[in-house]
Symmetry: C2
Subunit: 382 residues, 2 copies
Amino acid sequence: MKIVILGADGYLGWPTVLYFSNKGYDVIAVDNYLKRQITEDIGVSSLTPTPFLENRAKAWKEASAKTIEVRIGDVCDYNFLSDLIRTEQPDAIIHYAEQPSAPYSMMGHKEAALTLQNNLMSTLNIAYAIHEFAPNCHIVKLGTMGEYGTPNIDIEEGWLEVEHNGRKDNFLFPRQASSLYHTTKIQDTDLLWFYVRTWQLKVTDLMQGPVYGTFTDETSLNPFLAPSFFYDEVFGTVVNRFVVQSVCEYPLTVYGSGTQTRGYLDIRNTLDCLGLAVEFPPSVGELRIFNQITETFSVKEIAEKVKQVGKLFDLDVKIKSIENPRTEKESHYYNPKYTGLINLGLKPRLMSDENLAKMFVTAMKYKDRINQNVIFKGIKWN
Amino acid sequence: MKIVILGADGYLGWPTVLYFSNKGYDVIAVDNYLKRQITEDIGVSSLTPTPFLENRAKAWKEASAKTIEVRIGDVCDYNFLSDLIRTEQPDAIIHYAEQPSAPYSMMGHKEAALTLQNNLMSTLNIAYAIHEFAPNCHIVKLGTMGEYGTPNIDIEEGWLEVEHNGRKDNFLFPRQASSLYHTTKIQDTDLLWFYVRTWQLKVTDLMQGPVYGTFTDETSLNPFLAPSFFYDEVFGTVVNRFVVQSVCEYPLTVYGSGTQTRGYLDIRNTLDCLGLAVEFPPSVGELRIFNQITETFSVKEIAEKVKQVGKLFDLDVKIKSIENPRTEKESHYYNPKYTGLINLGLKPRLMSDENLAKMFVTAMKYKDRINQNVIFKGIKWN
């Protein structure tokens, strides 16, 4: 099995490369280092050292004797992508090649335009290249639970049967997001759903919640293999940020009441989900959607959990509520369904004190590299 | 009242410019002539002569003594657009500045990328420029009934209350379109709906059906003021195409069974709808959606109507069914609601033999300019 991973340099991209390589897949790791440019531009960086892909691939070769092919190029460049697909004929392609930060997409016009352009053009190019040059290839795209927002009804996995004036039809589940980034993911889904119907593509869209974690089975083999670990307001996900804030004794920043509830998952479960999606592909002409989370928490609950684990390290973690910079409902109904991946065999790894403690160990190891100035930048969404 | 009309050189853009100018608005007509480039590239042209905007504005000045300001520039260039909005402070902005052809968007990767890029970046730029420089300005965007596709339930005007597992919420009406062009209009609506909620913009989204007609009250004053009149497979709308095909004795090309049903409207009603939308703006923070059609027909019914009118001109019009190049349902439920604009005061002008006859007169006047080779180009959508 040959698999192409786009956005292979990212927080999830790199561990995904190792996961599939370890399983014996031929892996082609693709990135244009856009996120490195963006993070450099806004002055933030990963807590863990993150060598360039070529050097990480060498470290993996030494650790595992397995080879990863690295290609540096832009998925928004159709010549580059279509040449790759035509010559490599992958069985599956995983699409992480998007600008992944909601706060970044809300900083200003330049950042909004980059997010819209990059996220939609990459998805269009993938649909086209697969249709033209490898029509049997399975496209796995990362969506986000944020596409659904916080509706006042149960969130199904992607689809909803609607009854209206005595007649019925099946539709994509209604989606309205609270950032431009999340809106581009809604638009991505619309784009792929259109081409699935038109060209009979095989697509899996994984509606993922915020991921946390600083290691996977494969990345633990060598410090050079570590995932990136952003802890700033723009690129850090909430659990990862809170762990670093605890270690450097910066109060945990809870937006507003902290009652905003979301579904979360361990980075190792992200890999399990990708593995299951690739192992069990959808049918021809099917857009298959899974909700990729394992449990739900409010932000306040997460802050409390991190604070408790901090005590094990003799850290007196403070929690501080700040004015909510986002336009979002703080108190809301939230009942997402997430049985599809469990039915395929996913074993949820819940958020345990032990796992959080391991994240603390990583953060403490690199404590000298923490830059407190990037933790809160005060980006207003409205 | 000052109004900016983007895409002012188009089939609807130019008559809209004249309509508002005639009503006494200060009109700024903006275009980058992208459609002229595209139509030249694929070798099609308007049956009516269409002078450049500056010359049309001169002809209008002679006919009406009214001045139209013309600005040539690209709405996708944020510096151009934001300078315009900042300095002019319009009360309303009408957004026609999109690649408007569904078949064009399905021709190949280059055309798809242009459509996606142009239609979304223009809409993003408008939302941003209005938010930053003229937050009270009313944005009127042209959507399309094609966003809804052909669902098996009644089509409401933009919104739907959904009940699910005993709970309720209100959502954008489910949308799934049958071309990339129509999909970009779905994505446009998502983009504007996001920024309406985030920035409290005032937006009207007009879900328009295929428009027909070759004249309006204002364009009839002088032949230089005529709307463009495309009759080719790519840029011609169906009624306009059928009239030209009749005049040059080319059989009317009905795709498949011809039972595809859509909502239609007279170009003069398009202007009435725009006028009402601008006169009665939505509230701050409201995305108001109207379905902009006046009656529904199947393609077969339209072909029959045109054939009957052809007899008045001694034309023996043939109707020919050809293999459907599109991926679409031919037999489907179709029950769209369209009372919102009528409640504001719209007087529907239905498709009469008299109106169709006037279109025949226009087509016959320019009969020597008809190029039969462009009527059917055989673009396959799948």
